[in-house]
């Protein structure tokens, strides 16, 4: 029996236009924590989904515990001893915690589900990991961190051999991260294999035994943590010239366009004050869950706010709707392309024109032809790769979908363009194009407010960097002084 717990070699997988896995490989031993690193879009989550049994590889071999891993069936993946902890776990809100742990495999006695054993066993597993949750309470309303603990306990309940943690620490506070890392070490000491996926290199160095780095769907390197340093890992991860990634066009900074003062919304963010000037790109940096998306949603009018003022070109906006924000000249490219940015079954033409229908009516009738004209015009400007303007957007690649969302909002000719994670999950090539577009738009006098968790992007594009932590604006750093350490310190509140 080979010594390795898991061996993946020569893995290939294509989704429509995107080659998600391009010759990936990964090896994990029992009692080892492997850090799986790579930029987003590098193929990490596709690999995870393969192991979760949600789809099968086009090519390549996967051996688990010496036997070939039976792919493509979630139940058999679980039976073969693989458990996944997702960054946003999804439990069964109406069921109790004990049931969530034992769903589909409830302990039985005398032919019927044995509730008391289920509760006591769950309590034991919780205690084992130092978690004080009541197994009888409903899962609805549980914090993300506690949900993850339930998922981990679910893994323990099936005696999982290999536990994959897919960016588990993203939305956790420092204390919750410590608890998570301690639990991971416990799993390793129990002889299980752990794959830890994260962008926080400090956690990786603190926790993992070895690292495997992926880029553009392939495994570029793997090594023991002791033999490598931060910079080497980054070079493997990024592996391309940084500068051409962020074509910064010099823009003449004009007067204040957006002026936010003392903005607070209970439980989301407090006392946010900043300005964005014409022609300026301001980045809003910080960890996921630090409240950045909530701020821009409020500026755009999706959510309300308790105190403070929002003024655009001198006109104040209060309890306004997105429609009023758009009328005032604000545009928001939302965080989730699929759920918030696009109407997936609809055509490129309809998606692009939806925000400017008011202007398109000629005579009585709003003709699809006028929508096609606008969409074709913008598709050209953004070099969109598409067959016909009437194709549904769900057939486009991630990068092209983002271009449609961008053209949808650029078509409104906004004075303030807000973009939330503009280049998340799109191929490297399109990323550079999006950056070029943003800086050209700024050069034309538009004020740009960019929420981004991609530090190279923040440092490469922003004229000013505002850092948020746990709902507060903690630091404002001009471009010249913006460095990795300073932003990280402000964002994580701890030495990088």
């Amino acid at each position: 029996m080979s010594t390795h717990l898991l061996v993946i070699e020569g893995a290939y997988k294509r989704f429509g236009g995107v080659q998600a896995l391009n010759g990936a490989a990964l090896t994990v031993d029992r009692g080892e924590i492997v850090g799986l690193l790579g930029e987003n879009g590098a193929g990490k989550s596709t690999l995870v989904k393969t192991l979760a049994g949600l789809h099968a590889l086009d090519e390549g071999t996967v051996d688990l515990d010496g036997q070939p891993f039976h792919q493509g069936n979630p139940r058999s993946a679980r039976d073969q001893g693989i458990a996944i902890i997702y960054q946003e776990p999804s439990l069964f809100p109406d069921l109790t915690l004990a049931e969530n742990v034992y769903v589909g495999q409830q302990p039985k006695s005398g032919g019927r589900v044995d509730w008391s054993t289920m509760v006591t066993r769950t309590a034991e597993l919780f205690a084992g990991l130092g978690i004080d949750l009541d197994p009888r309470r409903q899962a609805r309303g549980l914090s993300i961190a506690d949900q993850q603990m339930v998922e981990i306990v679910k893994a323990l309940s099936v005696e999982a051999k290999l536990i994959i943690m897919d960016e588990p620490s993203a939305a956790l506070s420092a204390a919750e991260v410590e608890r998570l890392l301690a639990v991971a070490r416990q799993l390793r000491d129990q002889g299980r294999g752990v794959i830890y996926i994260s962008h926080r290199l400090d956690e990786v160095f603190e926790l993992c035994d070895s690292v495997t780095i992926m880029r553009d769907g392939a495994t570029v390197a793997s090594a023991h943590v002791a033999d490598v340093d931060n910079a080497q890992i980054v070079r493997w991860m990024v592996g391309r010239e940084i500068t051409d990634m962020f074509p910064k066009v010099a823009a003449e900074i004009g007067e204040v366009v957006l002026d936010v003062k003392g903005l607070s919304s209970r439980g989301e963010f407090h006392d946010i004050t900043f300005t964005v000037r014409r022609g300026e790109i301001v980045a809003l940096a910080g960890l996921v869950g630090s409240g950045r998306s909530e701020v821009v949603r409020t500026i755009f009018g999706i959510d309300g706010f308790d105190t403070g003022t929002i003024t655009l070109e001198g006109r104040s906006l209060a309890r306004h709707t997105p429609a009023q924000a758009m009328a005032a000249g604000i545009a928001l490219v939302p965080e989730d392309r699929r759920l918030q940015g696009l109407f997936m079954p609809s055509s490129i033409a309809h998606n692009t024109a939806i925000t400017v229908l008011g202007r398109l009516r000629r005579g009585l009738l709003l003709r699809t032809s006028s929508e096609r004209k606008v969409a074709t015009d913008w598709a050209g400007r953004l070099q969109l790769k598409y067959a016909s303007i009437d194709d549904p957007v769900e057939r486009l690649s991630g990068g092209n979908q983002q271009k449609v969302v961008l053209s949808k909002w650029l078509a409104t000719d906004p004075t303030l363009l807000i973009v939330d994670e503009p280049t998340r999950g799109i191929d490297v090539g399109t990323k550079a194009e999006v950056h070029r577009l943003l800086s050209e738009q700024a050069a034309r006098g538009t004020a740009v407010l960019m929420v981004s968790s991609d530090l190279p992007e923040v440092l490469g594009m922003a004229d000013r960097v505002l850092v948020m932590r746990e709902g507060r604006l903690v630091e404002e750093i001009p471009r010249a002084e913006a460095t990795q350490e300073r932003v990280m310190t402000a964002a994580a509140g701890a030495a990088a």
Binding site: G16, P322, Q340, T355, L364, R424, S453, G460
Partner: protein, 355 residues
């Protein structure tokens, strides 16, 4: 905005079905296409058609209204009561339309303000509005409407064989066609049906649009109540029983997807006419009334099953280009993992450039 794969074909297919039915029916039974019979059929389907227009829009935005039949009867009852009270038919008509719209408003507020499921709400209001009919009329139907109004019910428009009710039907049909397929509001309806959240993020006033659709449906029930009252020259509390399932069946048969986001007005018009003409044809051919009920059930099933089977076949075929099937399969990787701040690299570090 009529995307949505095969559905596109269904609304054309159904118009073809209508033409075939009329041609085939006409050839095999010369009474079928007589002016009188067409006059009857148009009158027979008028109330279903009027409400189906508004119901189609509701289903496109993923909502539904089961209270339409009770609303229709309540509006008719109010017309009766007001006619007795004020002796002016015009006041009665206005009162009826107001009643319908108010009932729609109540449904709309419960759904949009309280976030209730429209199915659950309208099961409740179906019973409530029907009960109010009995409160207003008790056991005495209103039947003493002025003859110049009730004559409209059966005398055709002079010089033609068409009943007067064809006027509101055509006007409403054109208006709804224009709104759904030719205006910004129409694009919004399809957008809401295809993605609630994306609609809000595109600046579409979701709650206000849905509320106005419920009020519009209520108004159309009031209008249908007026047509019903004139057609039967009376208002009684037990009118239009079981009517709501008929309207929903017609709308779905017309190509409007219950999952929302897809549908056409001409598809619905064709579906209602097919229902009217096939009923009349089978009846003239001596079929038993029960057989008609079976036929309408089968037609509804076909209207939903055929597109589904074809899209499954299309998906299976498309699978060779490894596009995952939409049912239960895995959608392509979501917009990338939520990525925390990556301290990976300083902006100016010249990483070694490879490949």
């Amino acid at each position: 905005m009529r995307s949505g794969g095969f559905r596109l074909g269904w609304d054309k297919g159904i118009i073809l079905l209508l033409v075939l039915l009329i041609v085939f029916g006409g050839m095999s039974d010369n009474l079928f296409l007589s002016g009188d019979n067409i006059n009857f059929i148009i009158g027979d389907v008028s109330e279903v058609m009027l409400i189906a227009f508004a119901m189609a829009l509701l289903i496109i935005v993923k909502e539904i209204d089961l209270s339409v039949a009770s609303n229709l009867t309540l509006s008719s009852a109010v017309i009766g009561i007001t006619w007795h009270g004020t002796n002016s038919m015009w006041l009665a008509v206005i009162a009826g339309l107001l009643t319908g719209s108010t009932c729609g408003l109540i449904n709309g507020l419960l759904v949009t303000r309280l976030g209730l499921s429209s199915l659950a709400v309208t099961i409740g209001t179906l019973a409530l509005y029907r009960g109010l009919c009995y409160v207003l009329l008790g056991d005495t139907p209103v039947a003493d409407y002025p003859t110049e109004w009730t004559d409209l019910g059966y005398q055709p428009i002079p010089g033609t064989f068409l009943p007067w009710v064809v006027v509101p039907m055509v006007v409403a049909g054109l208006a709804f066609w224009y709104v759904l397929h030719g205006t910004r509001l129409g694009r919004w309806l399809f957008a809401i049906g295809q993605g609630d959240e994306a609609a809000v993020f595109s600046g579409i006033p979701l709650k206000r649009v849905k509320l106005s659709l419920f009020v519009l449906t209520g108004f159309m029930c009031g209008l249908a109540g007026l047509a019903y009252t004139i057609r039967f020259a009376s208002s009684s509390p037990d009118g239009a029983l079981g009517f709501e399932l008929l309207v929903i069946a017609a709308v779905l048969f017309g190509g409007v997807a219950i999952a929302g986001g897809v549908g056409t007005i001409w598809g619905v018009v064709a579906a209602v006419l097919i229902w009217g003409f096939s009923r009349s044809y089978l009846q003239l051919a001596g079929w038993d009334a029960n057989a008609l009920v079976i036929v309408s059930g089968l037609l509804l099933l076909v209207s939903v099953a055929v597109p589904r089977v074809l899209s499954k076949i299309r998906d299976a075929a498309a699978h060779r280009t490894s596009r995952p099937s939409s049912r239960g399969g895995v959608t392509p990787p979501p917009g990338g993992e939520a990525e925390p701040l990556s301290p990976a690299v300083a902006g100016h570090d010249q990483g070694s450039h490879r490949g």
